[in-house]
Protein backbone atom coordinates (compact mmCIF):
# COMPACT_ATOMS: atom_id res chain seq x y z
CA UNK A 1 0.00 0.00 0.00
CA UNK A 2 1.41 3.35 -0.98
CA UNK A 3 1.52 5.96 1.72
CA UNK A 4 -0.99 8.64 0.90
CA UNK A 5 -0.13 12.32 1.09
CA UNK A 6 3.66 12.11 1.52
CA UNK A 7 5.35 15.01 3.16
CA UNK A 8 2.49 15.80 5.52
CA UNK A 9 4.19 14.08 8.41
CA UNK A 10 3.21 11.17 10.64
CA UNK A 11 -0.48 10.33 11.02
CA UNK A 12 -1.82 11.66 14.35
CA UNK A 13 -1.78 9.12 17.16
CA UNK A 14 -5.44 9.60 18.06
CA UNK A 15 -6.52 8.72 14.54
CA UNK A 16 -4.26 5.66 14.55
CA UNK A 17 -5.70 4.49 17.87
CA UNK A 18 -9.33 5.03 16.89
CA UNK A 19 -8.80 3.36 13.51
CA UNK A 20 -7.02 0.45 15.15
CA UNK A 21 -9.83 0.02 17.63
CA UNK A 22 -12.30 -0.01 14.75
CA UNK A 23 -10.59 -2.79 12.87
CA UNK A 24 -10.07 -4.78 16.08
CA UNK A 25 -13.77 -4.53 16.81
CA UNK A 26 -14.57 -5.92 13.36
CA UNK A 27 -12.01 -8.70 13.53
CA UNK A 28 -12.52 -9.82 17.13
CA UNK A 29 -15.89 -11.60 16.78
CA UNK A 30 -14.64 -13.49 13.74
CA UNK A 31 -11.51 -14.58 15.57
CA UNK A 32 -13.66 -15.63 18.52
CA UNK A 33 -15.96 -17.56 16.21
CA UNK A 34 -13.06 -19.53 14.78
CA UNK A 35 -11.51 -20.01 18.24
CA UNK A 36 -14.70 -21.33 19.81
CA UNK A 37 -15.40 -23.78 17.02
CA UNK A 38 -15.90 -27.40 18.16
CA UNK A 39 -13.23 -28.69 15.78
CA UNK A 40 -13.53 -32.32 16.97
CA UNK A 41 -17.30 -32.41 16.32
CA UNK A 42 -17.12 -30.24 13.24
CA UNK A 43 -17.47 -32.93 10.61
CA UNK A 44 -20.30 -34.78 12.34
CA UNK A 45 -22.31 -31.55 12.84
CA UNK A 46 -21.85 -30.32 9.29
CA UNK A 47 -22.83 -33.68 7.82
CA UNK A 48 -26.07 -34.22 9.76
CA UNK A 49 -29.10 -34.46 7.54
CA UNK A 50 -30.59 -31.07 8.47
CA UNK A 51 -27.19 -29.46 7.90
CA UNK A 52 -26.86 -31.01 4.49
CA UNK A 53 -30.47 -30.17 3.69
CA UNK A 54 -30.09 -26.54 4.75
CA UNK A 55 -26.78 -26.16 2.93
CA UNK A 56 -28.25 -27.59 -0.24
CA UNK A 57 -31.38 -25.47 0.04
CA UNK A 58 -29.33 -22.33 0.62
CA UNK A 59 -27.08 -23.08 -2.33
CA UNK A 60 -29.82 -23.64 -4.84
CA UNK A 61 -32.26 -20.97 -3.69
CA UNK A 62 -29.41 -18.44 -3.78
CA UNK A 63 -28.49 -19.62 -7.26
CA UNK A 64 -32.10 -19.35 -8.38
CA UNK A 65 -32.29 -15.84 -6.92
CA UNK A 66 -29.10 -14.88 -8.76
CA UNK A 67 -30.60 -16.26 -11.97
CA UNK A 68 -33.76 -14.17 -11.47
CA UNK A 69 -31.57 -11.14 -10.82
CA UNK A 70 -29.86 -11.79 -14.15
CA UNK A 71 -33.08 -12.21 -16.12
CA UNK A 72 -34.80 -9.11 -14.75
CA UNK A 73 -31.93 -7.10 -13.31
CA UNK A 74 -29.73 -7.03 -16.39
CA UNK A 75 -32.38 -5.35 -18.57
CA UNK A 76 -33.23 -3.03 -15.70
CA UNK A 77 -29.59 -2.05 -15.22
CA UNK A 78 -29.29 -1.47 -18.97
CA UNK A 79 -32.36 0.79 -18.97
CA UNK A 80 -30.95 2.79 -16.09
CA UNK A 81 -27.53 3.08 -17.70
CA UNK A 82 -28.49 3.66 -21.32
CA UNK A 83 -32.00 5.03 -21.74
CA UNK A 84 -32.82 8.56 -20.72
CA UNK A 85 -36.47 8.08 -19.76
CA UNK A 86 -38.76 10.15 -17.62
CA UNK A 87 -38.82 8.94 -14.05
CA UNK A 88 -35.43 7.28 -14.21
CA UNK A 89 -34.55 8.75 -10.84
CA UNK A 90 -37.73 7.34 -9.37
CA UNK A 91 -36.95 3.90 -10.79
CA UNK A 92 -33.45 4.03 -9.36
CA UNK A 93 -34.88 5.01 -5.98
CA UNK A 94 -37.31 2.07 -6.12
CA UNK A 95 -34.40 -0.23 -6.90
CA UNK A 96 -32.36 1.15 -4.02
CA UNK A 97 -35.02 0.94 -1.31
CA UNK A 98 -34.73 -2.82 -0.58
CA UNK A 99 -31.04 -2.25 0.08
CA UNK A 100 -31.74 -0.10 3.11
CA UNK A 101 -35.06 -1.64 4.12
CA UNK A 102 -34.93 -3.73 7.32
CA UNK A 103 -35.18 -7.33 6.04
CA UNK A 104 -38.06 -8.09 8.36
CA UNK A 105 -39.98 -5.20 6.80
CA UNK A 106 -39.18 -6.67 3.41
CA UNK A 107 -40.67 -9.95 4.63
CA UNK A 108 -43.86 -8.26 5.82
CA UNK A 109 -44.08 -6.34 2.55
CA UNK A 110 -43.70 -9.54 0.58
CA UNK A 111 -46.48 -11.10 2.68
CA UNK A 112 -48.68 -8.10 1.91
CA UNK A 113 -48.12 -8.66 -1.78
CA UNK A 114 -47.94 -12.44 -2.11
CA UNK A 115 -49.60 -13.66 1.13
CA UNK A 116 -52.89 -15.54 1.25
CA UNK A 117 -54.78 -12.27 1.37
CA UNK A 118 -52.11 -10.28 -0.42
CA UNK A 119 -52.50 -7.91 -3.31
CA UNK A 120 -51.28 -10.49 -5.80
CA UNK A 121 -51.45 -13.54 -3.55
CA UNK A 122 -55.21 -13.59 -3.19
CA UNK A 123 -56.15 -13.51 -6.90
CA UNK A 124 -53.31 -15.96 -7.55
CA UNK A 125 -54.79 -18.35 -4.98
CA UNK A 126 -58.31 -18.03 -6.42
CA UNK A 127 -57.27 -18.48 -10.03
CA UNK A 128 -54.57 -21.13 -9.78
CA UNK A 129 -54.84 -22.35 -6.24
CA UNK A 130 -51.16 -21.54 -5.73
CA UNK A 131 -49.83 -20.32 -2.43
CA UNK A 132 -46.45 -18.72 -2.20
CA UNK A 133 -45.77 -17.96 1.49
CA UNK A 134 -43.99 -20.63 3.53
CA UNK A 135 -42.79 -22.48 0.43
CA UNK A 136 -39.39 -22.77 -1.20
CA UNK A 137 -40.62 -20.33 -3.88
CA UNK A 138 -41.08 -17.80 -1.08
CA UNK A 139 -37.44 -18.31 -0.10
CA UNK A 140 -36.34 -17.60 -3.66
CA UNK A 141 -38.60 -14.51 -3.87
CA UNK A 142 -37.29 -13.16 -0.57
CA UNK A 143 -33.72 -13.69 -1.69
CA UNK A 144 -34.35 -12.05 -5.05
CA UNK A 145 -36.03 -9.08 -3.39
CA UNK A 146 -33.04 -8.28 -1.22
CA UNK A 147 -30.33 -9.26 -3.72
CA UNK A 148 -31.65 -7.53 -6.85
CA UNK A 149 -30.64 -3.99 -5.80
CA UNK A 150 -27.03 -5.08 -5.30
CA UNK A 151 -27.00 -6.68 -8.72
CA UNK A 152 -28.71 -3.84 -10.57
CA UNK A 153 -26.71 -1.01 -9.05
CA UNK A 154 -23.35 -2.74 -9.39
CA UNK A 155 -24.16 -3.65 -12.98
CA UNK A 156 -25.37 -0.18 -13.84
CA UNK A 157 -21.94 1.05 -12.81
CA UNK A 158 -20.26 -1.58 -14.96
CA UNK A 159 -22.44 -0.72 -17.96
CA UNK A 160 -21.75 2.97 -17.60
CA UNK A 161 -18.05 2.18 -17.66
CA UNK A 162 -18.28 0.39 -21.03
CA UNK A 163 -17.70 2.50 -24.09
CA UNK A 164 -20.64 4.21 -25.74
CA UNK A 165 -18.38 4.81 -28.73
CA UNK A 166 -18.14 1.07 -29.31
CA UNK A 167 -21.93 0.85 -29.32
CA UNK A 168 -21.91 3.68 -31.84
CA UNK A 169 -19.51 1.69 -33.99
CA UNK A 170 -21.82 -1.32 -33.74
CA UNK A 171 -24.81 0.79 -34.81
CA UNK A 172 -22.92 2.15 -37.80
CA UNK A 173 -22.27 -1.44 -38.85
CA UNK A 174 -25.99 -2.11 -38.90
CA UNK A 175 -26.59 -3.57 -35.46
CA UNK A 176 -29.90 -2.56 -33.86
CA UNK A 177 -29.98 -1.92 -30.13
CA UNK A 178 -30.87 -5.51 -29.27
CA UNK A 179 -28.03 -6.90 -31.36
CA UNK A 180 -25.68 -4.32 -29.89
CA UNK A 181 -26.82 -5.23 -26.39
CA UNK A 182 -26.31 -8.92 -27.04
CA UNK A 183 -23.09 -8.85 -29.02
CA UNK A 184 -21.26 -5.80 -27.67
CA UNK A 185 -22.64 -4.41 -24.41
CA UNK A 186 -23.09 -7.64 -22.47
CA UNK A 187 -19.82 -9.29 -23.54
CA UNK A 188 -17.94 -6.11 -22.62
CA UNK A 189 -19.71 -5.91 -19.26
CA UNK A 190 -19.25 -9.63 -18.60
CA UNK A 191 -16.83 -9.16 -15.69
CA UNK A 192 -19.31 -6.74 -14.14
CA UNK A 193 -22.17 -9.19 -14.67
CA UNK A 194 -20.15 -11.96 -13.03
CA UNK A 195 -19.26 -9.75 -10.08
CA UNK A 196 -22.88 -8.65 -9.73
CA UNK A 197 -24.08 -12.24 -9.78
CA UNK A 198 -21.61 -13.27 -7.11
CA UNK A 199 -22.61 -10.29 -5.01
CA UNK A 200 -26.30 -11.15 -5.37
CA UNK A 201 -25.60 -14.78 -4.59
CA UNK A 202 -23.65 -13.91 -1.47
CA UNK A 203 -26.36 -11.52 -0.31
CA UNK A 204 -28.98 -14.26 -0.83
CA UNK A 205 -26.92 -16.78 1.06
CA UNK A 206 -26.89 -14.63 4.17
CA UNK A 207 -30.54 -13.56 3.94
CA UNK A 208 -32.40 -14.14 7.20
CA UNK A 209 -35.05 -11.59 8.17
CA UNK A 210 -37.11 -11.47 4.99
CA UNK A 211 -36.90 -15.25 4.60
CA UNK A 212 -38.06 -16.18 8.11
CA UNK A 213 -40.90 -13.63 7.90
CA UNK A 214 -42.14 -14.52 4.45
CA UNK A 215 -41.17 -18.21 4.16
CA UNK A 216 -41.00 -19.43 7.74
CA UNK A 217 -38.47 -21.85 9.11
CA UNK A 218 -39.42 -25.34 7.93
CA UNK A 219 -36.58 -27.86 7.65
CA UNK A 220 -36.31 -29.19 4.14
CA UNK A 221 -38.44 -26.55 2.41
CA UNK A 222 -37.58 -23.13 3.82
CA UNK A 223 -34.85 -23.63 6.40
CA UNK A 224 -31.74 -22.16 4.82
CA UNK A 225 -28.34 -22.11 6.53
CA UNK A 226 -28.84 -18.83 8.41
CA UNK A 227 -32.21 -20.05 9.71
CA UNK A 228 -30.62 -23.33 10.79
CA UNK A 229 -27.92 -21.45 12.67
CA UNK A 230 -30.63 -19.46 14.44
CA UNK A 231 -32.63 -22.59 15.27
CA UNK A 232 -29.60 -24.43 16.63
CA UNK A 233 -28.58 -21.51 18.80
CA UNK A 234 -31.62 -22.35 20.97
CA UNK A 235 -30.44 -25.86 21.94
CA UNK A 236 -26.93 -26.71 20.68
CA UNK A 237 -24.54 -23.78 20.67
CA UNK A 238 -21.64 -25.84 19.25
CA UNK A 239 -23.73 -26.83 16.29
CA UNK A 240 -24.66 -23.18 15.68
CA UNK A 241 -21.02 -22.16 15.75
CA UNK A 242 -20.03 -24.97 13.40
CA UNK A 243 -22.77 -24.04 10.91
CA UNK A 244 -21.78 -20.39 11.15
CA UNK A 245 -18.23 -21.30 10.29
CA UNK A 246 -19.42 -22.99 7.12
CA UNK A 247 -21.22 -19.81 6.03
CA UNK A 248 -18.23 -17.72 7.06
CA UNK A 249 -15.94 -19.87 4.91
CA UNK A 250 -18.22 -19.56 1.89
CA UNK A 251 -18.35 -15.78 2.31
CA UNK A 252 -14.56 -15.56 2.53
CA UNK A 253 -14.40 -17.54 -0.70
CA UNK A 254 -16.77 -15.07 -2.40
CA UNK A 255 -14.71 -12.17 -1.13
CA UNK A 256 -11.60 -13.80 -2.53
CA UNK A 257 -13.28 -14.27 -5.90
CA UNK A 258 -14.49 -10.69 -6.01
CA UNK A 259 -11.36 -9.08 -4.56
CA UNK A 260 -10.87 -5.81 -6.41
CA UNK A 261 -13.91 -6.36 -8.63
CA UNK A 262 -16.15 -5.71 -5.66
CA UNK A 263 -15.51 -2.04 -5.26
CA UNK A 264 -14.74 -1.63 -8.94
CA UNK A 265 -18.25 -2.80 -9.78
CA UNK A 266 -19.97 -0.78 -7.09
CA UNK A 267 -18.20 2.44 -7.92
Amino acid sequence: MATAAPGLGRPPLRLLLAGGAGVAFLALPLVALVASAPWDRMWSIVTTSDSRQALWLSAWTSTAAAALCLVFGLPLAWLLARVDFRGRRVVRAVVTVPMVLPPVVAGVALLSAFGRHGLVGEPLRHMFGTQIPYTTSAVVLAHTFVAMPFFVLSLEGALRATSLRLELAAASLGADRWTTFRRVTVPLAAPGVAAGLLLAWARSLGEFGATITFAGNYPGTTQTMPLLVYARLQDDRDAAVASSLVLFAVCMLVLLLLRDRWWGALR
Binding site: L168, A170, A171, L173, G174
Partner: protein, 358 residues
Protein backbone atom coordinates in the same frame (compact mmCIF):
# COMPACT_ATOMS: atom_id res chain seq x y z
CA UNK B 1 -26.92 13.12 -62.49
CA UNK B 2 -28.74 13.40 -59.19
CA UNK B 3 -26.36 13.48 -56.26
CA UNK B 4 -25.79 10.38 -54.19
CA UNK B 5 -25.60 12.38 -50.99
CA UNK B 6 -27.76 15.43 -50.39
CA UNK B 7 -27.38 16.64 -46.84
CA UNK B 8 -28.56 19.73 -45.07
CA UNK B 9 -27.77 20.36 -41.45
CA UNK B 10 -29.59 23.04 -39.52
CA UNK B 11 -28.12 23.28 -36.07
CA UNK B 12 -27.44 26.96 -35.41
CA UNK B 13 -24.50 27.38 -33.09
CA UNK B 14 -22.96 24.10 -34.18
CA UNK B 15 -23.22 23.72 -37.92
CA UNK B 16 -25.62 24.83 -40.59
CA UNK B 17 -25.05 24.13 -44.23
CA UNK B 18 -25.90 22.03 -47.24
CA UNK B 19 -23.75 19.60 -49.14
CA UNK B 20 -24.20 17.35 -52.14
CA UNK B 21 -21.86 14.74 -53.53
CA UNK B 22 -21.84 12.40 -56.50
CA UNK B 23 -20.95 8.70 -56.53
CA UNK B 24 -17.25 8.09 -56.12
CA UNK B 25 -16.48 11.56 -54.82
CA UNK B 26 -14.11 11.98 -51.90
CA UNK B 27 -14.73 15.14 -49.90
CA UNK B 28 -12.13 16.41 -47.47
CA UNK B 29 -13.80 18.33 -44.66
CA UNK B 30 -11.37 20.80 -43.13
CA UNK B 31 -11.67 23.53 -40.55
CA UNK B 32 -10.50 24.50 -37.10
CA UNK B 33 -11.85 22.80 -33.98
CA UNK B 34 -15.41 23.84 -33.34
CA UNK B 35 -16.09 24.66 -36.98
CA UNK B 36 -18.71 21.92 -37.19
CA UNK B 37 -16.84 19.04 -38.86
CA UNK B 38 -17.91 16.41 -36.36
CA UNK B 39 -21.47 17.75 -36.29
CA UNK B 40 -21.70 17.32 -40.06
CA UNK B 41 -20.34 13.77 -39.92
CA UNK B 42 -22.57 12.78 -37.01
CA UNK B 43 -25.65 14.16 -38.73
CA UNK B 44 -24.95 12.07 -41.82
CA UNK B 45 -24.25 9.00 -39.67
CA UNK B 46 -27.53 9.48 -37.82
CA UNK B 47 -25.93 9.96 -34.43
CA UNK B 48 -27.18 13.52 -34.37
CA UNK B 49 -30.51 14.94 -35.47
CA UNK B 50 -29.83 17.36 -38.35
CA UNK B 51 -32.14 20.00 -36.91
CA UNK B 52 -35.45 21.54 -37.94
CA UNK B 53 -34.73 22.18 -41.59
CA UNK B 54 -32.08 19.49 -41.74
CA UNK B 55 -32.29 16.35 -43.84
CA UNK B 56 -30.06 13.62 -45.15
CA UNK B 57 -30.97 12.08 -48.50
CA UNK B 58 -28.93 9.27 -49.98
CA UNK B 59 -29.77 7.67 -53.32
CA UNK B 60 -33.07 9.56 -53.25
CA UNK B 61 -33.97 7.78 -50.02
CA UNK B 62 -34.64 9.95 -47.01
CA UNK B 63 -32.31 8.91 -44.22
CA UNK B 64 -33.42 11.68 -41.87
CA UNK B 65 -35.80 9.60 -39.74
CA UNK B 66 -33.60 6.49 -39.81
CA UNK B 67 -31.53 5.43 -36.79
CA UNK B 68 -27.81 4.86 -37.45
CA UNK B 69 -28.16 1.11 -37.89
CA UNK B 70 -30.70 1.49 -40.69
CA UNK B 71 -28.37 3.71 -42.70
CA UNK B 72 -25.55 2.56 -44.87
CA UNK B 73 -22.83 4.73 -43.42
CA UNK B 74 -19.45 3.25 -42.58
CA UNK B 75 -17.57 5.02 -39.81
CA UNK B 76 -13.87 5.08 -39.11
CA UNK B 77 -12.65 7.22 -36.25
CA UNK B 78 -9.26 8.44 -35.15
CA UNK B 79 -9.30 5.66 -32.56
CA UNK B 80 -10.00 2.33 -34.22
CA UNK B 81 -12.90 1.33 -31.92
CA UNK B 82 -12.54 -2.35 -32.66
CA UNK B 83 -14.57 -4.62 -30.39
CA UNK B 84 -12.01 -5.84 -27.86
CA UNK B 85 -13.76 -9.16 -27.26
CA UNK B 86 -13.75 -10.18 -30.93
CA UNK B 87 -10.75 -11.09 -33.10
CA UNK B 88 -9.99 -9.16 -36.27
CA UNK B 89 -12.06 -11.46 -38.50
CA UNK B 90 -15.12 -11.35 -36.23
CA UNK B 91 -14.79 -7.58 -36.02
CA UNK B 92 -15.00 -7.31 -39.79
CA UNK B 93 -17.72 -9.96 -39.96
CA UNK B 94 -19.78 -8.04 -37.40
CA UNK B 95 -21.33 -5.75 -40.01
CA UNK B 96 -22.50 -8.45 -42.42
CA UNK B 97 -23.71 -10.55 -39.48
CA UNK B 98 -25.70 -7.65 -38.06
CA UNK B 99 -27.23 -7.18 -41.51
CA UNK B 100 -28.48 -10.73 -41.55
CA UNK B 101 -25.78 -12.42 -43.63
CA UNK B 102 -25.03 -15.98 -42.51
CA UNK B 103 -22.06 -16.81 -40.36
CA UNK B 104 -20.00 -18.56 -43.02
CA UNK B 105 -20.67 -15.97 -45.71
CA UNK B 106 -19.84 -13.18 -43.25
CA UNK B 107 -16.52 -14.82 -42.45
CA UNK B 108 -15.79 -15.09 -46.16
CA UNK B 109 -16.58 -11.39 -46.64
CA UNK B 110 -14.37 -10.57 -43.64
CA UNK B 111 -11.47 -12.56 -45.02
CA UNK B 112 -11.85 -10.82 -48.37
CA UNK B 113 -11.61 -7.36 -46.80
CA UNK B 114 -8.80 -8.28 -44.42
CA UNK B 115 -6.91 -9.53 -47.48
CA UNK B 116 -7.69 -6.31 -49.37
CA UNK B 117 -6.32 -4.21 -46.52
CA UNK B 118 -3.25 -6.43 -46.24
CA UNK B 119 -3.98 -7.87 -42.82
CA UNK B 120 -5.26 -11.36 -43.73
CA UNK B 121 -2.57 -12.92 -41.55
CA UNK B 122 -3.89 -11.11 -38.49
CA UNK B 123 -7.44 -12.46 -38.83
CA UNK B 124 -7.44 -14.38 -35.58
CA UNK B 125 -5.63 -11.77 -33.49
CA UNK B 126 -7.37 -9.82 -30.76
CA UNK B 127 -7.41 -6.04 -31.25
CA UNK B 128 -5.26 -5.37 -28.19
CA UNK B 129 -2.26 -7.14 -29.73
CA UNK B 130 -2.48 -5.20 -33.00
CA UNK B 131 -0.32 -2.16 -33.66
CA UNK B 132 -2.02 1.17 -34.32
CA UNK B 133 -1.64 0.82 -38.08
CA UNK B 134 -2.83 -2.79 -38.12
CA UNK B 135 -5.85 -1.96 -35.99
CA UNK B 136 -6.77 0.93 -38.29
CA UNK B 137 -6.51 -1.37 -41.30
CA UNK B 138 -8.94 -3.74 -39.62
CA UNK B 139 -11.21 -0.82 -38.80
CA UNK B 140 -11.18 0.27 -42.45
CA UNK B 141 -11.87 -3.31 -43.54
CA UNK B 142 -14.76 -3.43 -41.09
CA UNK B 143 -16.28 -0.21 -42.45
CA UNK B 144 -15.81 -1.24 -46.08
CA UNK B 145 -17.20 -4.74 -45.49
CA UNK B 146 -20.73 -3.37 -45.16
CA UNK B 147 -20.30 -1.77 -48.61
CA UNK B 148 -21.54 1.57 -47.33
CA UNK B 149 -23.08 4.20 -49.57
CA UNK B 150 -21.38 6.83 -47.46
CA UNK B 151 -18.01 6.31 -45.84
CA UNK B 152 -17.30 8.69 -42.97
CA UNK B 153 -13.66 9.02 -41.97
CA UNK B 154 -12.97 11.17 -38.92
CA UNK B 155 -9.24 11.92 -38.89
CA UNK B 156 -8.51 8.29 -39.69
CA UNK B 157 -4.72 8.58 -39.73
CA UNK B 158 -4.03 11.30 -37.20
CA UNK B 159 -3.22 8.86 -34.37
CA UNK B 160 -0.66 6.98 -36.45
CA UNK B 161 3.05 7.40 -37.06
CA UNK B 162 3.82 9.45 -40.14
CA UNK B 163 5.20 6.53 -42.15
CA UNK B 164 2.36 4.20 -41.13
CA UNK B 165 -0.16 6.88 -42.00
CA UNK B 166 1.45 7.37 -45.42
CA UNK B 167 1.28 3.67 -46.18
CA UNK B 168 -2.34 3.43 -45.12
CA UNK B 169 -3.23 6.57 -47.06
CA UNK B 170 -1.86 5.05 -50.27
CA UNK B 171 -3.76 1.86 -49.61
CA UNK B 172 -7.00 3.71 -48.97
CA UNK B 173 -6.48 5.84 -52.10
CA UNK B 174 -6.15 2.63 -54.08
CA UNK B 175 -9.39 1.20 -52.67
CA UNK B 176 -11.33 4.40 -53.02
CA UNK B 177 -10.73 4.46 -56.76
CA UNK B 178 -13.20 1.60 -57.11
CA UNK B 179 -15.53 2.86 -54.38
CA UNK B 180 -18.89 3.92 -55.75
CA UNK B 181 -20.18 5.62 -52.61
CA UNK B 182 -19.39 9.03 -51.20
CA UNK B 183 -16.53 9.61 -48.80
CA UNK B 184 -16.59 12.39 -46.22
CA UNK B 185 -13.17 12.66 -44.64
CA UNK B 186 -12.50 15.00 -41.75
CA UNK B 187 -8.82 15.84 -41.70
CA UNK B 188 -6.19 18.26 -40.47
CA UNK B 189 -3.54 16.90 -42.81
CA UNK B 190 -2.77 18.39 -46.20
CA UNK B 191 -1.39 15.00 -47.27
CA UNK B 192 -4.87 13.48 -46.89
CA UNK B 193 -6.26 16.25 -49.05
CA UNK B 194 -3.63 15.82 -51.74
CA UNK B 195 -3.75 12.01 -51.86
CA UNK B 196 -7.46 11.37 -51.48
CA UNK B 197 -9.74 14.34 -51.98
CA UNK B 198 -11.67 15.29 -55.09
CA UNK B 199 -13.17 18.23 -53.28
CA UNK B 200 -12.34 20.26 -50.22
CA UNK B 201 -15.15 21.50 -48.01
CA UNK B 202 -13.83 24.29 -45.83
CA UNK B 203 -15.78 24.89 -42.63
CA UNK B 204 -15.52 27.91 -40.38
CA UNK B 205 -17.79 29.10 -37.57
CA UNK B 206 -20.36 26.39 -38.15
CA UNK B 207 -20.81 27.13 -41.84
CA UNK B 208 -19.35 26.08 -45.17
CA UNK B 209 -16.90 28.78 -46.20
CA UNK B 210 -15.75 27.12 -49.39
CA UNK B 211 -16.51 23.99 -51.39
CA UNK B 212 -14.19 23.47 -54.34
CA UNK B 213 -11.43 21.35 -55.85
CA UNK B 214 -8.18 21.07 -53.88
CA UNK B 215 -6.40 23.09 -56.56
CA UNK B 216 -8.94 25.88 -56.42
CA UNK B 217 -8.86 25.98 -52.63
CA UNK B 218 -5.07 26.00 -52.63
CA UNK B 219 -5.11 28.90 -55.05
CA UNK B 220 -7.63 30.97 -53.15
CA UNK B 221 -8.40 29.59 -49.72
CA UNK B 222 -11.35 31.27 -48.06
CA UNK B 223 -10.15 30.90 -44.49
CA UNK B 224 -6.81 31.26 -42.71
CA UNK B 225 -7.16 27.70 -41.49
CA UNK B 226 -7.50 26.34 -45.02
CA UNK B 227 -4.61 28.47 -46.21
CA UNK B 228 -2.32 27.26 -43.45
CA UNK B 229 -3.49 23.70 -43.91
CA UNK B 230 -2.46 23.91 -47.54
CA UNK B 231 0.92 25.31 -46.57
CA UNK B 232 0.44 28.92 -47.58
CA UNK B 233 1.59 31.98 -45.74
CA UNK B 234 -1.29 33.87 -44.25
CA UNK B 235 -1.22 37.46 -43.13
CA UNK B 236 -4.34 39.29 -42.10
CA UNK B 237 -4.91 42.95 -42.05
CA UNK B 238 -6.96 45.85 -43.27
CA UNK B 239 -6.60 46.97 -46.87
CA UNK B 240 -6.87 50.47 -48.16
CA UNK B 241 -6.10 50.50 -51.84
CA UNK B 242 -2.89 48.58 -52.50
CA UNK B 243 -1.67 48.89 -48.95
CA UNK B 244 -2.58 46.50 -46.17
CA UNK B 245 -2.04 47.44 -42.58
CA UNK B 246 -1.24 44.09 -41.00
CA UNK B 247 -2.87 43.07 -37.73
CA UNK B 248 0.52 42.10 -36.38
CA UNK B 249 1.99 45.42 -37.34
CA UNK B 250 3.81 46.41 -40.48
CA UNK B 251 2.69 47.04 -43.97
CA UNK B 252 2.02 44.81 -46.96
CA UNK B 253 1.79 46.01 -50.52
CA UNK B 254 -0.64 44.45 -52.98
CA UNK B 255 -0.54 44.47 -56.76
CA UNK B 256 -4.24 45.18 -57.10
CA UNK B 257 -6.26 47.34 -54.71
CA UNK B 258 -8.64 46.00 -52.08
CA UNK B 259 -10.77 47.47 -49.33
CA UNK B 260 -11.44 46.45 -45.73
CA UNK B 261 -10.34 43.34 -43.87
CA UNK B 262 -8.36 41.00 -46.09
CA UNK B 263 -6.51 37.78 -45.92
CA UNK B 264 -3.23 37.94 -47.79
CA UNK B 265 -1.75 34.64 -48.86
CA UNK B 266 1.35 33.63 -50.79
CA UNK B 267 3.24 30.38 -51.15
CA UNK B 268 6.50 29.81 -49.22
CA UNK B 269 8.28 29.47 -52.55
CA UNK B 270 7.50 33.12 -53.31
CA UNK B 271 9.55 34.31 -50.37
CA UNK B 272 13.15 35.36 -51.03
CA UNK B 273 15.67 35.43 -48.19
CA UNK B 274 18.69 37.70 -48.21
CA UNK B 275 21.40 38.47 -45.66
CA UNK B 276 21.16 42.23 -46.19
CA UNK B 277 18.19 44.50 -46.75
CA UNK B 278 17.23 43.74 -50.37
CA UNK B 279 17.39 46.38 -53.02
CA UNK B 280 15.10 45.53 -55.91
CA UNK B 281 11.60 45.25 -57.19
CA UNK B 282 10.15 43.34 -54.23
CA UNK B 283 7.79 45.72 -52.50
CA UNK B 284 7.39 43.70 -49.32
CA UNK B 285 10.42 43.16 -47.18
CA UNK B 286 10.82 42.47 -43.52
CA UNK B 287 13.69 41.85 -41.17
CA UNK B 288 13.01 38.53 -39.46
CA UNK B 289 14.61 35.84 -37.37
CA UNK B 290 15.05 32.20 -38.32
CA UNK B 291 13.12 30.03 -35.87
CA UNK B 292 13.59 26.64 -37.46
CA UNK B 293 14.78 25.14 -40.73
CA UNK B 294 13.32 21.82 -41.87
CA UNK B 295 14.86 19.95 -44.80
CA UNK B 296 12.64 18.15 -47.26
CA UNK B 297 14.60 16.60 -50.12
CA UNK B 298 16.35 19.45 -51.92
CA UNK B 299 14.18 22.13 -50.36
CA UNK B 300 14.53 23.66 -46.93
CA UNK B 301 11.45 25.16 -45.33
CA UNK B 302 12.47 28.02 -43.11
CA UNK B 303 10.18 29.09 -40.30
CA UNK B 304 10.58 32.78 -39.67
CA UNK B 305 9.39 34.71 -36.68
CA UNK B 306 8.84 38.35 -35.93
CA UNK B 307 7.89 39.08 -39.47
CA UNK B 308 6.04 42.26 -40.26
CA UNK B 309 6.26 43.60 -36.80
CA UNK B 310 4.97 41.87 -33.70
CA UNK B 311 4.75 38.13 -34.09
CA UNK B 312 3.53 36.84 -37.44
CA UNK B 313 4.96 33.61 -38.69
CA UNK B 314 6.19 33.20 -42.19
CA UNK B 315 7.40 30.21 -44.17
CA UNK B 316 10.02 30.38 -46.86
CA UNK B 317 11.19 27.58 -49.15
CA UNK B 318 14.79 27.83 -50.26
CA UNK B 319 17.26 25.39 -51.81
CA UNK B 320 19.77 23.54 -49.65
CA UNK B 321 22.57 25.46 -51.30
CA UNK B 322 20.99 28.77 -50.40
CA UNK B 323 20.31 27.63 -46.86
CA UNK B 324 23.96 26.72 -46.38
CA UNK B 325 25.21 29.90 -47.97
CA UNK B 326 22.96 32.10 -45.82
CA UNK B 327 23.69 30.01 -42.70
CA UNK B 328 19.99 29.68 -41.87
CA UNK B 329 20.34 28.44 -38.30
CA UNK B 330 17.91 29.35 -35.53
CA UNK B 331 18.45 32.87 -34.29
CA UNK B 332 19.94 34.14 -37.53
CA UNK B 333 18.50 37.45 -38.69
CA UNK B 334 17.64 37.65 -42.38
CA UNK B 335 15.52 39.73 -44.69
CA UNK B 336 12.44 38.21 -46.27
CA UNK B 337 10.93 39.73 -49.35
CA UNK B 338 7.89 39.01 -51.48
CA UNK B 339 6.83 40.57 -54.73
CA UNK B 340 3.46 42.20 -54.45
CA UNK B 341 2.34 40.29 -57.55
CA UNK B 342 2.76 37.02 -55.67
CA UNK B 343 0.32 38.05 -52.95
CA UNK B 344 -3.35 37.13 -53.17
CA UNK B 345 -5.70 39.22 -51.10
CA UNK B 346 -9.13 37.82 -50.29
CA UNK B 347 -11.93 39.54 -48.50
CA UNK B 348 -11.55 38.26 -44.97
CA UNK B 349 -15.06 37.25 -44.13
CA UNK B 350 -13.76 34.69 -41.69
CA UNK B 351 -10.65 36.39 -40.50
CA UNK B 352 -11.72 37.84 -37.21
CA UNK B 353 -12.18 34.67 -35.19
CA UNK B 354 -10.31 32.36 -37.54
CA UNK B 355 -7.02 33.98 -36.78
CA UNK B 356 -4.59 32.24 -34.57
CA UNK B 357 -6.12 28.80 -34.83
CA UNK B 358 -4.08 25.94 -36.05
Amino acid sequence: MSPLLDARVDLPGRFSGALTASPGEVLAVVGPNGAGKTTLVEAVAGILDPGDAGRVVVDDADWTPLPPHRRSAGLVFQEHLLFPHLDARDNVAFGPRARGVGRRESQRVADHWLEALGVADLASRAPDVLSGGEAQRVALARALAIEPRVLLLDEPFSALDVSVAAELRDLLAHHLRAFQGVVLMVTHDVLDVRALADRVVVLEHGAIAQDDTPAAVAEAPATPHAARLLGLNVLSGSASGTEVELDDGGLLVLASPAQGPVLATFPPSAVTLTAEAPVGSARNRWETTVHRAVRRDQVVRVHLQGTAGAGAQLYADVTRGAATELDLTPGRVVWASVKATEVTALPAEFVAAGRGDR
